[in-house]
Each structure stands twice: as structure tokens, then as C-alpha cells.
Subunit: 374 residues, 2 copies
């Protein structure tokens, strides 16, 4: 079937682009001498995860315990749950480990380390380190780092597996030089934390870093053992805007249909709105020239952007396409298919339960499920 | 079970508030002398729809054909699909009607009217009128209105059911007076369009208007036959901010757990981020005093806002809670449950496959499914 026969909106994944992206990142990891532990929160798909771990050691990162269960059901065992664990999730984490997952959980708090110790069930734990993002994590030189390590190490049910950090601030980088500097902060913070943990006499086998920008521009990851980029499997307009990929790398698009013309306003409406595209406005940060609205409008066959056309506004099921030039109403009558490139692939994909897979053309070759929710 | 035993994040629906909201809107419709055709795109839930049509004529509005199928499966027949139909959706629309739905579709285009006529299958159609929102619809005095009506009326497979309009601009209203004026524009536009269609000798049994703000503040709906508010079932911070409801009317909240403290930054992290809360920032438009960030933080038991606390930033699975005053870290240790009121209920709810239903307390009394996707 051709994508143009699909009900719209539909989420289209070009596996040719996906394969290019995952091969390139696998090669990056090899060059940098670290394991690649892809963050599967972007695709939440077993089929994508299997491509992403091909040629790698086989471990993945997830953002929810539901993902952990799902990927285990699909045969992936080595799973890092990368969001700080809460007490109410320990039973489920233990149950997933009990079903055969080599599950690692994460904490940055002494209180939580005590709760993990008190929980009694076996847990493998990484300590989360803040390398400048100021989201999760403790700074590598903080006294809490050692207190958490000691608390965990003293518990017979716990194995301290190492440290992890995420340079979320790399998304504010705008050039390779800046992102290479942030990658070095990320590496140095994780390595410093690992050294301090090891100085307690503990093993610290995993030193985990990573974001797509830092994985792309890191010059050296000495001391790190693995990296965890995520969005590189699909890329998106934000990653393009900050120079991490080219627009031709973006593997994900939303197929939409023109449902109305408003020639007086130089607007056409499509059937992809806030739920189909998400309300993510990441590219707003990139200023007037980089701002892609709620997505760029592309030819449905070539996936080449139609110059100037973007989705300027959305309501729940309507997208409002405009341009500074007159819109090509004649060439795009009501009923015309279009493809929209997303601001932020992770968030757009979350509106769908499956990918319609193509392979460099418009022929649907497969349908890959996703694991949404919690 | 108490909600505090649920895995988090979870979507909590207080049916006591919901029942108050649906009763009040049913009473509004009765006072105004019109049918209430609730827009079920907000809840996408058969259980909610059944409460909303209680005491009303039984018809509903939907925003996707998947919703139409779902509600038909749950015994609701009279369904208005309120988004402009596209040629690629006609087969599905006909098939849903063939399964017993009294389905009405909508168009605002001569081309599309021709496609509906040419489709051959039986279709009931409303013409979409623009009353100032400049989204879908043609203006009531436009020549296209008559051309669409004539095109449809000439087709043996089509019944022209009437006209519909939606005053989306009511969301820009800030006081009852302004919203009453917009409600009058909405009413007058629909009635004017209906008169012109009737002047062609056509029946025009349905004259459909509505949004939650205009339904709330309309003074007179003479000539309209029905109204289609949607978000009133749950309300949200945006509706509160523009004065359409009180904060005590908001029936929907996201249950989250504190997963980290950053006392130096006066920040705590919760496990509800961009997917659990959505990236909707509707309240940003309300200015500094009305801006609720990505949601207001509430006591998990009373659902009363904790003064000053809001979710200031989100990443995929992290929410960053801050306040201008020092956060109550001691009172909210890691592991504490919180409830977050959403900016925009329709968009937040879309991240979940079900509601955990409570009835004025924290006891989970039911689980109601949702119909997501397309």
C-alpha cells in the first residue's frame, strides 16, 4: 500500500534514514571506544531498538518502567531505567528484574538510597550525577555522592553499578565547538564521580554519559564506558536547527491531508493538529530564522520541504499552514497529502500507537508498534 | 485502592466534579432552549459521554472518525464529526454510517462538496460557517455557502442537515461581557447562514453553535438548535484563568511523585513531564499572574493548590517544580505524591489510555478507558 492510501494523520517512519542514523551512531561509539546504550524513549519500539543495538553490546536505556517491561518482553535484557527511581516504583522494578531483566535503576538522593536499601529486593543502582544540566543528579564533588554510595554499598540487596549523567544543556549548544566542550564536561563529571566512588573501595563498572549532541561532537570519552543518545534514531527539526544533523536525516514525519483553503488569509488547514504533531515548540528557541512553528510542510513523496510552508498554529485536530509567500493553493487542493517534519520527534511520536514504515519510498512495508503510557 | 498506591504518573478524574460540571451545562442548554451536543474530544470516553448526554437528546460531537466508531460501539448513534471531512475519509464515514451511526460530516469547500456528491454513498452534511475564528468555515454571507448548499442538495446521496460554527475566538475573551458578545456573533452567523440555505428552499434542521466560553456566557441562542461545548466536562487552568469556571470545578489532575530535591536551586523534580502533562502552555497567554507554567501543584488529598508551586519546566519524563518562595522540602520528601492541575485538559488527557476515577475522595472507584489516536 502507498502511504497516500492511509487514513490521516499517520506517523511515517522511513527506515532507510533510520538505518543510516543508527549505523552512524554505532560507528561514533566505536570510534570513541564506548558502548552504545541507545535511549529508547524516543521510539519506544522493539523494532527500532533492535536496529539500534545491532552491532552494539545489546543494552538500552528507557524512560518508564512500562518500557522496561515491554522491551524485556521483546527479548532485550540489559536495561537502564534512566529517570530517578521513586519509592512507589521499587516493587515494579524488582518484579521486572525478577522476570529476567538485568535492570539498573538510578538515584541521586540519600533518602532514596536508604529506601532502596530498606526495600530488601535485589537492586542494581547507578548514582545520577549532575554535569551542569541542573535537572537530576548531584554534583560529582558533593559529599552526598559518597553518602549515597556508602548507603547503597552497605545494603546486602544492592549492587552499586556505577554512575550516570546526562548533559541536557547540550541542547543549548549551537555549534560543534560548544557541544564538544559540553561533552567534555559530561565526561569529566562522570569520570570524577566514578573515581570518588572507587576511592571508597567500590567497583564502579559503568560510567555512563550521553545525549545526542554530545555523542555527536565528543572528541574523547576516556574513562566513560558507555553513551546513551536517544533522538538520533529519528532526529528532528530541533536537532537540525542546532546543527546536529541534516534535514535529510529526519526519519519521522506526520502524513496529513489538506482539509480547507482560506485564500484570503493565505492559510490552508490540515488534519494534523495538537495531538498529531504535539504542542512542542522547541524550535521557537532558535529565533526567527530557525523557528519551524509546529512543523515544516513537505512534499508527501520526496519528503523535501516545500519552501516557506510551515504549520503556524494548531488546535486539537487542525493545523494551520501558512507562508510568507502566497500558498500554492492550485497545486494543493483540498484532499492533498502532505508530510510534516516534527520539532521534537520523541514528543510527536508519543501521540501514536504505531509507525507506518517506508523504505525510502512511499510504499508501506511494515507497521511497528509503540509502547506508550506508564 | 487509594490513589496514592497507583503507579505514577496517573490521570485522576474526580467524578463528583465532573457530575457537577455536566449538570450545570445541561441546565444551561435547557435555559437557553437548545439541545446540548457535548464535544467528546475532551474526554474521549464512553463513560464520560454517557454522563454528559444524561438529560439531553443523546447526540454528541467528535473530533476523529475513530471516536465516532468507538462511541457507536458504546451505543451512541447521533454523532457529528466536527472537523472538515477530507476525500480520504469518506469511505470510513460511510462505513460508520452503514453500521448504524446517524453520522453527520462537515465541509466548508465547494470542491469537497463535489467529492461528497461524487462519492455516491449516503452522507448527511453540515456546512461549516466561520463566525470570526478564521479556522474552518466560510463566512455566512459568502457566495460559496450557497454554492456548497446547492452542490450538496443536488446530489441524490446527500442530505443537507444544516450549518455549524465554532467561536474559537471565545478563548481570547477575558470577561463575561466579551464572551457574551462573541456568543452573539456565533449565534448570529449560524442563524444568518441557515436563513440563506433555507431561502434556497432547503430544510436546515440543525443550526449548531458552541464552545465552552460561549455556552457559559451566551444570553440568547434564538435560532440555534444546539450547542457543542467540550472542555466543560473537566475544565482546566486556562478556563479558570479566563473566568469560565472556578478552580474547584477542575475535575482532571495528574498524580505525580517527587523524585528529587535540588534545594540549592529551590527546585524539586516530579515524575510527570512533557508526556504526562503535555507541552501545552495555554496559560502563558494570561500574563505573569495567570501563567501556570505546565501546571499547578496541589495537595494530593484535597486537590487544593499549594500556594506558589508550579511546574516551571518539563522534559520527557521530568517535571521541574519551583516557587518564588522557598519550597517546602521538609514537608514533601522524595516519594511524596502530588497532584497537578493541567493547562489544557483535552491535551493532557490525550497522553493516557484511561482515567482513574475518584468520587470526591482519594479512593479509586473505577477505571474508564479512552479512545486515542486516529
Amino acid at each position: 500500500m502507498d502511504i497516500r492510501q492511509l487514513p490521516t494523520p499517520a506517523l511515517i517512519l522511513d527506515q532507510r534514514r533510520l538505518r543510516t542514523n543508527v549505523r552512524a551512531m554505532t560507528e561514533r561509539a566505536r570510534t570513541l571506544g564506548v558502548n552504545l546504550r541507545p535511549h529508547c524513549k524516543t521510539a519506544k519500539s522493539a523494532a527500532v531498538a533492535k536496529l539500534a543495538i545491532e552491532g552494539n553490546f545489546g543494552g538500552i536505556t528507557v524512560s518508564t518502567l512500562r518500557e522496561a517491561e515491554y522491551f524485556l518482553d521483546h527479548g532485550i535484557r540489559d536495561i537502564l531505567y534512566g529517570v530517578g527511581i521513586a519509592p512507589n516504583k521499587l516493587d515494579l522494578a524488582a518484579s521486572i528484574a525478577g522476570k529476567g531483566a538485568d535492570l539498573k535503576i538510578v538515584t541521586d538522593s540519600v533518602t532514596m538510597a536508604q529506601a532502596i536499601a530498606a526495600h530488601g529486593a535485589p537492586h542494581k543502582v547507578l548514582i545520577e550525577v549532575d554535569c551542569g544540566d541542573a535537572r537530576g543528579g548531584i554534583t560529582p564533588d558533593s559529599p552526598e555522592l559518597l553518602e549515597i554510595a556508602r548507603t547503597l554499598a552497605a545494603a546486602p540487596n544492592v549492587v552499586v553499578m556505577g554512575v550516570m549523567t546526562h548533559a541536557g544543556q547540550s541542547y543549548d549548544g549551537r555549534n560543534p565547538e560548544a557541544m564538544a566542550r559540553i561533552a567534555e564536561q559530561e565526561r569529566a563529571s562522570a569520570v570524577r564521580a566514578a573515581e570518588r566512588v572507587r576511592a571508597l573501595g567500590l567497583e564502579c563498572p559503568i560510567v555512563s554519559v550521553g545525549s545526542t549532541p554530545t555523542a555527536t561532537f565528543a572528541r574523547d570519552l576516556s574513562g566513560a564506558t558507555e553513551m546513551r543518545p536517544g533522538v538520533y534514531v529519528f532526529y528532528d527539526l530541533y536537532q537540525t536547527g542546532i546543527g546536529v544533523c541534516r534535514i535529510e536525516n529526519i526519519a519521522l514525519s506526520v502524513l496529513a491531508t489538506v482539509i480547507a483553503h482560506r485564500p484570503k488569509d493565505n492559510v490552508m488547514l490540515i488534519d494534523a493538529g495538537a495531538l498529531a504533531l504535539s504542542k512542542d515548540r522547541s524550535t521557537e528557541k532558535l529565533g526567527r530564522n530557525g523557528d519551524c512553528g509546529f512543523g515544516l510542510v513537505c512534499d508527501p513523496v520526496t519528503l523535501a520541504p516545500i519552501p516557506g510552508l510551515k504549520v503556524a498554529a494548531v488546535s486539537q485536530e487542525h493545523g494551520r499552514v501558512t507562508s510568507e509567500e502566497p500558498l500554492p493553493f492550485g497545486r494543493l487542493p483540498v484532499g492533498s497529502p502532505l508530510r510534516i517534519l516534527p520539532n521534537h520527534a520523541c514528543i510527536t511520536a508519543a501521540g501514536y500507537d504505531a509507525y507506518q514504515v517506508v523504505d525510502g519510498s512511499t510504499e508501506v512495508v511494515d507497521r511497528w508498534g509503540r509502547c506508550n503510557g506508564w
